[in-house]
Symmetry: C2
Subunit: 390 residues, 2 copies
């Protein structure tokens, strides 16, 4: 029994729960306190009315935010690709082909090696304020390796995603139809018990619209929710396919037509932007402003993976979104918390109100603005996950 915990002397509290009739998506409160009981938020109110509690954390006038929700991360892998990164920075283009390098290393790794890598990155993300993280498979690409990737991922999160259709593995290079059959058949059967979501890398060089549709439909039939890697490297059918299938999120969205934006604006599908990938592949950034102005729900996530975006830092992605993608600091904070929760169709995280999970970060700063205003600086002073100080 942990008992109740009061976080008080909060200078600025981001709740993402605006009061009725107030145009303030962050639901900001000043001089607030927050009571945690049984891992949930039990009460929020003015500090002067704070109830008694078994323990107390003095936020010292700092800003407190919901923990970040990183809705797109590839953590189950072995090895790194630092040399590929250095070569790319010297001018080689990013094609996604390096994924196969990681597939080889991942297949060769033991379960414990993979588990240790996930734990290392999950802990690193947590220290930077991420309290909910989605984890994909996609570096196994055999029945056994996809199933074990998801089994290991499920030790760390409920939001596991089967990405057998990350790339066609080398041994199927000349018969992609057969690989799609494998993914839809025995691989899905082995993966589904460990997965909440199914995802496809729908891109030239990976899976075309027909293959993507077939795979996603099979996943839906097996009870998995849909997400799509879409329109990262060029224009393509991924976004509209995702919307058509009722995807919770289409991710990347770097190259969008007006029809893509219109489809998103009329849907419940979130556009998840991953600026770490554009940073580390030296590619043009997606236009968040265009999406926001069209009324699309935008999330930010890290895309943490050893090839195109080896960052676990949501604050870094948030600062990039403000610098490069036309988001205001408030929009970026919302997208990295409530937006991520929407992309995972989670009502219990990304928000601070009674009944929500007590996942929150105390900043080394007086305002959410500082996450973009102080780029690169580790500003996460303390993290509570399920109400427990980490």
């Amino acid at each position: 029994m942990i008992g109740s915990l009061l976080v008080d002397n909060i200078g600025e509290l981001v709740t993402n729960a605006p009061r009725d009739g107030v145009a303030d998506p962050l639901g900001l409160r000043r001089d607030a306190a927050l009571l945690v009981e049984d891992g949930e938020v039990a009460w929020i109110g003015p500090a002067r009315y704070a109830p008694a509690a078994d323990r107390r954390i003095d936020a010292g006038g700092a800003a407190v935010l919901p923990g970040f929700v990183d809705s797109h991360a590839h953590l189950v892998f072995a090895g790194d690709r630092a040399a590929e990164f250095a070569a790319r920075m010297a001018g080689e283009p990013y094609t996604g082909g390096g994924i196969r390098t990681t597939v080889g290393a991942t297949r060769a790794a033991t379960d414990d090696e993979l588990r240790a890598n996930v734990r290392r990155l999950r802990d690193e993300a947590m220290r930077q304020g991420t309290t909910t993280i989605e984890i994909k498979s996609g570096y196994g690409l055999t029945i056994a390796d996809e199933a074990r990737s998801l089994r290991i991922a499920a030790e760390f999160t409920g939001d596991t995603t089967f990405l057998g259709a990350h790339v066609v593995p080398a041994e199927y290079a000349d018969r992609p139809d057969d690989y799609v059959g494998l993914v839809c058949g025995p691989m899905l059967a082995a993966a589904a018990p460990h997965a909440r979501w199914i995802d496809v890398f729908c891109e030239r060089g990976a899976f075309d619209a027909d293959h993507a549709r077939a795979i996603l439909a099979c996943g839906q039939a097996a009870g998995l929710g849909v997400r799509v890697h879409a329109n990262q490297l060029g224009p393509g059918p991924g976004v509209r396919l995702g919307v058509e299938l009722g995807a919770a999120s289409v991710d990347h969205c770097t190259h969008l037509s007006d029809a893509d934006v219109d489809a998103l604006a009329g849907s419940a599908t979130v556009a998840t932007l991953l600026p770490g990938a554009e940073f580390s592949t030296r590619s043009p950034y997606p236009d968040a402003r265009r999406l926001l102005d069209a009324g699309v729900t935008v999330a930010l996530a890290t895309d943490c993976n050893p090839g195109s975006s080896y960052t676990s830092s949501m604050p870094f992605c948030l600062a990039l979104a403000v610098r490069e993608m036309g988001m205001t600091p408030a929009e970026a904070v919302w997208a990295a918390t409530a937006g991520g929760a929407a992309a995972l169709r989670r009502a219990d995280v990304g928000v601070l109100r009674p009944g929500a999970r007590a996942d929150l970060t105390i900043l080394d700063a007086p305002s959410h603005l500082h996450l973009a205003y102080r780029p690169g600086v580790p500003l996460i002073r303390q993290v509570l996950h399920n109400g427990v100080p980490q």
Copy 2:
């Protein structure tokens, strides 16, 4: 008496001390060990030949680098300008005019408040691997406030810089010649005992070439070394003036003519690039590649200040330099360590060899490449400053 300390099991050691005849500016060594005695590096060699020591730190195969040398930081100030930042991200241009806001807050602060702010930022920088930091005055702009800014800065670093010529303060707005006279006369007299360097913001809207030359010449006559804020917001005379006066460094260098580059290439003046400022003012980045290809010595620094670059993170600046300025990861690491030392004309830091200060960082990564490959991630596992674990 601390005794000797051995850092061993170093997977990759960046020394910045290349062996004779080897084209390897970082002077990389594998499987190395490093002995610290009396705050200095006493020995470097293969781990298997490591001498006995009183204490030992196992680097666990990680990379070890010289501590970062941040040769450009404005840490003596009060208040913040988060609202100005948010407005700028919403489209307002950066003109440098906001400096006067910080001047007002700084003048109103107590010595203890200023000291606490410097300590907070110095400690924050140290946690991110910065073991040498230059600190400027420039938010006082009265005789007493400049002198106390430098007196406080000198409590934290030997590299203090008198920047009375940061901007013409409001009370001198219509008589800038009088302000230059004040800076060159009684303000310099009060500042010089606490300063190693003199600096001028030579820019349209701040100080023109004649004023800058007069101020820098007075500072030289008082025994101070020269540095210049030059060519940040547009083309100008700052870089060539700095070279002409034998400046240790000209800083920003965002807008350079061929003549500027030629002047630098034929000089001992370092070009210090400050990409945090371009990031946070949404301005075009300086072209480091052009400078490097011309043979100019390049340093990277944070420009940490509450207006245009409120980052204390050298790793962040280094990652930006690779993404945005055409530097290789190795060039960026060199510029953030040995380059900064050159910009401060310091032979004892920015390098790891016998006799150098034992200022070093142990990364949470196997290679220096990871500082750019893993942007935004706090990768500094441990810092030694003067041989003492921080």
